[in-house]
């Protein structure tokens, strides 16, 4: 049985998982995916955001369980599996320092030579800074810590917490055939946690050739992939903010190139066990500010970036192509043609024959999910706030699919405004709001011409009402076939009116969602000229 795994390491890993989740929500993901995160900085806002998003995804996926006859590109179609504790926070408590972790004090008494070696390798600041906010751009610290955690075994170090998610991973791997456990690691090379974690987990004995993964024929149950994310963003590190930060250890964008160079040299020399490795970065990064300076914790809350979307696409390419084995080493390269990022430049696959079809499918899925999210959070939210079938709600698509007497309590189950139906709709609505926020934030970066958020958002908080701004829904996808804004919300309603759902057993919330989803799909085909091909 083929199983897909995604391990996000550090802040960038968390942000890439965010993108993978959104692609899965849009119906562009694999059938199932187990994911977990590794980050000692528990308060990191990027991490909390991704953790919340995973819960929101799972809530929305279980709330919208009946997608009718739809077989392909199902929204929330990927079954996302997580361990009970989906984050491995590495440390058992918040005040762990490297000095404490390696028992420097004891070493000084018992083995002076080792203690002196530690003093040579690490500065006093590196030894004494609490690691509760991660490794602060110092992979040398992270590698000491992470290499201590042999996957599948509980660490003997009292400062380390066991990784529950890894235990589940090992149980699954032992049940797999050769290469059927497709594990994808993702992290940045220019920070601390990712740069330390990716090579550690990519080393032969950690996963790929671990005794539990080994087969008698010398092969491995694990097919190992990874994405090393090179510098791709900057943040506002004004002198005042840096001065305010009393900690001694931090990195600024100016440190990224040096850190990257050192990391890449290390990867080049080190024998790693990756079957497939993606290097992803962007020279536009200096213009792409994703937030303010912070050493970690709550301050590390970065806006999403298109490189995270590209890295998520790399992961999907890995899972899609993992069954295609070649004995020779192959290299692929994808790059922008110019300084702009457009839909036809997104590297969705290594397979040239599938490139166009998958680009169209991706654009369609993202457009459709954005449309669904926008409509659910504006028109549909207002709709459900009004009473059943009167006035503004006296419309064909609703009357045809929701026949009940609102005055009779026994009909409550048929009302999408009430009880479990309402909760289910709310679960999907909140997730899709996050989706719209994510994709429009990506589109807000300079020279990224994917989605124009000004067509959908009135300000940072509120979306534009579609009845008053009818052109927005047909104009948010940049660079597509029809002139922007020529397809309006009225055409969406026309599509909505043409959808028919005949399954009487379907719950009111599922029916409501399927109506909007079908209309969104059809609208995006019509408005943006996107005709997705059948998926492979």
């Amino acid at each position: 049985m083929i199983r897909n795994y995604l391990i996000g390491i550090g802040g960038t890993g968390a942000r890439v998982i965010e993108s993978v989740l959104h692609l899965c929500a849009a119906g562009y993901g694999p059938e199932s995916l187990s994911m977990f995160l590794i980050d000692p900085d528990q308060a990191n806002s990027n991490l909390s955001r991704t953790k919340t998003l995973i819960s929101q995804y799972q809530a929305a996926a279980s709330a919208w369980h009946d997608k009718g006859s739809r077989q392909e590109a199902r929204p929330f179609g990927t079954q996302i599996k997580t361990a009970q504790n989906s984050i491995w926070t590495v440390f058992a408590n918040n005040d762990v320092t490297l000095s404490g972790f390696v028992n420097e004090k004891t070493l000084r008494q018992s083995n002076e030579e080792y203690a002196q070696l530690i003093s040579v390798l690490f500065t006093e600041a590196e030894l004494q800074t609490p690691l509760s906010r991660g490794f602060r751009g110092h992979p040398s610290i992270g590698s000491v810590v992470m290499s201590n955690a042999e996957a599948g075994k509980e660490s003997s170090n009292k400062d380390m917490v066991p990784a529950q998610a890894l235990e589940q991973l090992w149980q699954d791997i032992q049940d797999s055939n050769e290469g059927d456990a497709r594990v994808f690691l993702v992290g940045s090379v220019f920070g601390g946690t990712g740069a330390a974690g990716v090579p550690t987990f990519g080393s032969p004995k950690m996963l790929k050739h671990h005794e539990k993964a080994k087969l008698d024929n010398g092969g491995s149950r694990v097919h190992l992939g990874g994405a090393l994310v090179l510098p791709y963003f900057s943040f506002e590190a004004d002198a005042e903010a840096v001065k305010k930060e009393k900690q001694d250890m931090y990195v600024t964008p100016a440190d990224f190139p040096i850190a990257t160079k050192a990391a890449l040299e290390y990867y080049n020399e080190k024998e790693l066990a990756f079957d497939e490795l993606y290097f992803i970065g962007d020279s536009l990064g200096a213009d792409h500010r994703v937030g303010k300076f912070g050493t970690g914790g709550k301050e590390q809350n970065n806006r999403p970036h298109y490189i995270e979307l590209v890295t998520a696409l790399a992961a999907l390419d890995f899972w899609r192509e993992a069954s295609v084995r070649t004995s020779t080493r192959e290299c692929f390269i994808a790059a922008r043609n110019d300084q702009t990022v457009t839909w036809d430049m997104l590297p969705v696959t290594r397979d040239k024959g599938q490139l166009n079809a998958l680009q169209v499918l991706l654009a369609h899925r993202i457009a459709s999910m954005t449309t669904l999210g926008y409509v659910l959070n504006t028109y549909a939210a207002d709709f459900l706030n009004r009473p059943h079938g009167a006035g503004e709600n006296n419309v064909g698509w609703y009357k045809d699919h929701f026949k009940f007497d609102a005055k009779k309590s026994q009909d409550d189950g048929k009302d999408p405004r009430k009880g479990a139906n309402f909760s289910s709709l709310n679960a999907v609505r909140s997730y899709t709001a996050e989706f719209v926020r994510w994709i429009t934030d990506i589109g807000a970066l300079p020279r990224v011409q994917l989605v124009d958020g000004t067509k959908l958002w009135a300000d940072d908080e509120a979306m534009l009402p579609p009845l008053q701004h009818a052109g927005g829904i047909g104009g948010f996808l940049v660079g597509q076939a029809r002139p922007a804004g020529s397809a309006t919300f009225n055409e969406f309603l026309a599509q909505l009116n043409s959808v028919r759902i005949t399954d009487q057993a379907m719950s009111a919330s599922d029916r409501f969602l399927n109506l909007l989803q079908e209309a969104s799909d059809a609208f995006c085909r019509q408005a943006y000229g996107l005709e997705p091909y059948a998926r492979r």
Partner: protein, 154 residues
């Protein structure tokens, strides 16, 4: 299928013709057999009656077509309240049309001694070709965006 152009227009025209045949021929012949005229010949009465009901049916059909045309606009689905008002306005127009046609016939036939039953039969013919026709056609053949605003639609 009947809710899309040109099928709804053609079907409305056919229904208008059938209803006019019912009112103009059947009811007309019934009136001709039962009415007692003083100055006017039966043929003159029938001609006047059929022209009046025919004109009312024709204008009523045009009003129905105007509903189909405006209801098929993409903006219609976004404004059910506005289109409900429009439908009520057109329905009142149909009723007014029938009433005007009846008043026209009554005034032109004042010298004749028509009974209340005769007037009621004429009224029935006019209602059949105007308000009833409009309601039936819009109920069954309104474009999808506005079908729900027609009273009686379940």
């Amino acid at each position: 299928m009947l809710r899309k152009a040109p099928m709804n227009y053609l079907a409305a025209a056919m229904i208008a013709a059938v209803l006019w045949l019912l009112s103009g021929l059947l009811l007309g012949n019934y009136l001709a057999d039962n009415i007692s005229l003083q100055d006017m010949t039966t043929d003159d009465f029938l001609l006047r009656y059929r022209i009046t009901t025919g004109t009312a049916s024709f204008v009523g059909c045009l009003m129905c077509c105007s509903w189909f045309a405006s209801g098929a606009k993409p903006a219609a689905a976004a404004d059910p309240v506005g289109y409900r008002k429009l439908w009520i306005g057109l329905m009142l127009g149909e009723v007014l049309l029938g009433a005007l046609a009846l008043i026209g016939l009554v005034v032109s036939m004042l010298p004749e001694s028509l009974t209340l039953v005769n007037y009621l039969v004429i009224l029935a013919g006019l209602v059949l070709g105007t308000a009833l026709f409009f309601w039936l056609c819009t109920l069954a053949m309104s474009p999808r965006p506005v079908e729900a605003v027609v009273p009686g639609k379940r």
